[in-house]
Amino acid sequence: MILRVLFIVGLLLCVPSVFVLDHALTLGPASWALDQKTFWGTPIANFVFWIGLAHAGTFFSAMLLVLNVKWQKRISFPAEISTIAALFVAAIFPLIHLGIPQRFYFMFPMGLFRHLYVNMESPLVWDFVAILVYLCLSIFFLLIHGGSLRFPSLVAFRRPLAWVLFPLVLWVHTIVSLDFAITLVPTWQGAYFPIYFIMGALFSGIALVLILSELEGRRLRRLEDLLIAFSWGLLAFWIWEFMTKGIWCSEILFFGFLIPQLLWVRPLRAIPTIRVVIAMSVIFALWWERIKLVMPSAPEWTLVDYGWIALGLGGFMAIYFGLRLVTKRVFSDRIDTVSTGVSEESFPKKRIALYWGIGFSAALLFVAWFMVRVPTVPGVRMVPVFFPLMALVTGFLIVVDAFSRVLNRRVLFGLLGGIGVILGMFAGLIYQGGKTIFDESPAIIATEKMPESSRPVDVIWKSRCASCHGEEGHLNRKFVHEFYPLPREISVSRFDSLGVDSLSKVILDGRAFMGAYRGRISELEARSLIEYMRSLAKEAP
């Protein structure tokens, strides 16, 4: 019942979100709090926040599965759905952030028809790749999990896939942290950011999963313990932020550290509302932390900045609770208590090792190809995309293997072929890129004066005189002899007898069949043309 209510609340929140989205896309980045000094604003902060929340799902499903933590089964399915919901929401924000959102595909790390390659040194490219891969693998993981209800033999593939996701999720947030850590912005600096960001992401994620499990009517004491443990870890980081950069934000410490300490008090902990409120306070603290991190000195917020809250919450709630309701209806409650006869250990180990090998070689091949095409990029700067690409190939192979065991051959071929065609078409579209951009009406080419100062005389001769007089001064017989009496052959003696003045007059004003060139050839040029003709005459036999 409560799920349904929250789903409707989420949908209702989507209504203002649509207006916010429309407003933001119509007006562009001018519509939220930015200026010519602060270029990254609330969308980036919200992106970091939501991608952090997304990590919780993977943490509870994949990481704890790998680490053999037993109680993860009780929460893993809702957590996985929350990952996908939060990832979709997170993916919206960087797109809105862009000045020209429709050009987002420029960040695909592939060669283009225009011989353009992305800048592999930029963390945004790593980000783009890593998040796409993360989204794909989270969907794969959920597919295997859901599919294992129908085909119990799929359970065996959960653990290998979890081993792909476990480092990937850490990698993704490390890359998000590098967006900031590599810059020259004083408040964004910190070589410790990768671990700091991962801790923050997991902290907020745990709080989210606590809320979600309360909504399912379950209480997991471990989650409360984890919340306390992480609050101390983050305290250490917040203090370190203060020690290294002098950043101190008491709200964050209050909501993010002090309030979670209430969980030590047993009677308070026993009340579900208190637990949820504490978790919300943690989530709020981390949201505010991201805002403070991205824009320490914020220009005045506009309605759009506040609208992101509705957009994020509405989108997340609509997707999460929608999916949750659907899965509940489809699988009833079986999904939450997966207990099949198949052992999770019985996956084909050798074959999985082979898949890792193929993934590794594929990523290596990509890096090698890229470094040949763009030799200026130092190889070590390609490391951040290396692992996600490897994970994508490996994960894809594992999923294909898993489903090839349970699905009908024809269905499988059809599915894979269809996916191949769709992806191929996308790749072709991106490879060709957009049409040539004529931002302005094309310039009209008409006769204009050439720059007269520096025209070399031989070029003038070729363009103006050679059509009749010939390039070498021997007449262009193809043209002249048919229709005109032949012009006189030029000779040095003739030149000297006529004199420069009278000859230049002929050039400028014309004579007999020769046209006048005044206005198209300057007097100075006429004189140098005569010099040129004289030199041609000398060379003539």
Binding site: G28, W40, G99, I100, F106, E121
Partner: protein, 289 residues
């Protein structure tokens, strides 16, 4: 039943009508685009407005004379500028010249209130500040698409059609001299094509001082057509040409005969403290060395 259907239709048509109206608000018939004006006094007024803002300059620190770029060791040209602060009185003529040369658009009143001007040159405490064209430019490293890219001639170039507006370059620029096109200047009639050689920029792309790349390109192409070696002698940026006191000198750092090399001889070379380690090509001259 009938009643409720009627109600539903009423509500639905109201909602649809509202949405249609909402959708029309961008329609040209509803809000016709203001007429573009190329009256220079409008730009002059805006420059005055921008100069009234009191932007702190920060410290200036001495640096070594810019040399060949490590990225392009074989190049014989590295263009740059020196701004003589002993002469400059901050009159702002350079900003106007820059605007007219590079077709820099105006901003609307709301943007002006927020101080989001597009001028590539900005007066900070009476000192003209523009992109320094760093040799080790942080903006180029973080641009995801390669729209901010180093040119062998020492410019840090901006390729507008390749820019997706991630604004990472602007965030990572320590001197904050990059300008983002927040407004759709053409739609609002705020831009004018003073110089046919320079394209107008769209909303959503970054721009900044280009070191008058069009002048360098034209000169280079002419020299190459005539088969001459090109050292950029005789090219001047718009701001250098416009400066009434000749405080801005444009030239080739690697050519000992260029006016730039002549002007900096024996002078103290300074730059903003925030970019001191980034090998800037545009520097300030203060006092004797």
């Amino acid at each position: 039943m009938d009643q409720s259907r009627r109600d539903f239709l009423k509500v639905a048509s109201l909602v649809l009508g509202g949405l249609a109206l909402w959708g029309c608000r961008r329609d040209k018939n509803f809000s016709p685009a203001p007429k573009a004006s190329s009256d220079i006094s409008l730009w002059k007024f805006e420059i005055k407005q921008a100069m009234r803002r009191n932007i702190p300059l920060g410290d200036l620190v001495p640096i070594k004379i810019p040399g060949p770029l490590p990225k392009f060791p074989k190049e014989i040209n590295r263009f740059g500028m020196a701004i003589d602060l002993d002469i400059c009185n901050g009159c702002g003529e350079c900003i106007l010249a820059c605007v007219l040369e590079n077709n820099i658009s105006r901003v609307n009143d709301r943007e002006a209130q927020k101080g989001r001007f597009m001028h590539w040159i900005e007066m900070r405490e009476g000192v003209p500040v523009m992109c320094s064209h760093c040799g080790d430019a942080p903006c180029e490293k973080v641009c995801p698409t390669g729209a901010a890219v180093a040119s062998p001639d020492g410019m840090s170039a901006m390729i507008y059609p390749r820019c997706i507006g991630s604004r990472y370059c602007g965030a990572n620029c320590p001197s904050k001299t990059r300008k983002f096109n927040y407004t759709d200047a053409r739609a609002e009639g705020l831009s004018a094509k003073f110089n046919p050689e320079v394209p107008l920029r769209n909303r959503g792309v970054m721009e900044k001082c280009s070191l008058c790349v069009q002048r360098l390109q034209n000169d280079r192409l002419l020299a190459k057509t005539l088969g001459k070696e090109w050292r950029g002698m005789g090219v001047q940026s718009a701001c250098a040409m416009a400066c009434p006191k000749k405080a801005i000198v444009f030239g080739n750092w690697l050519d000992s005969e260029s006016p730039l090399s002549q002007a900096v001889r024996g002078r103290g070379i300074y730059t903003l403290k925030s970019i001191q380690g980034l090998d800037p090509s545009v520097v300030y001259l203060v006092g004797r060395a």
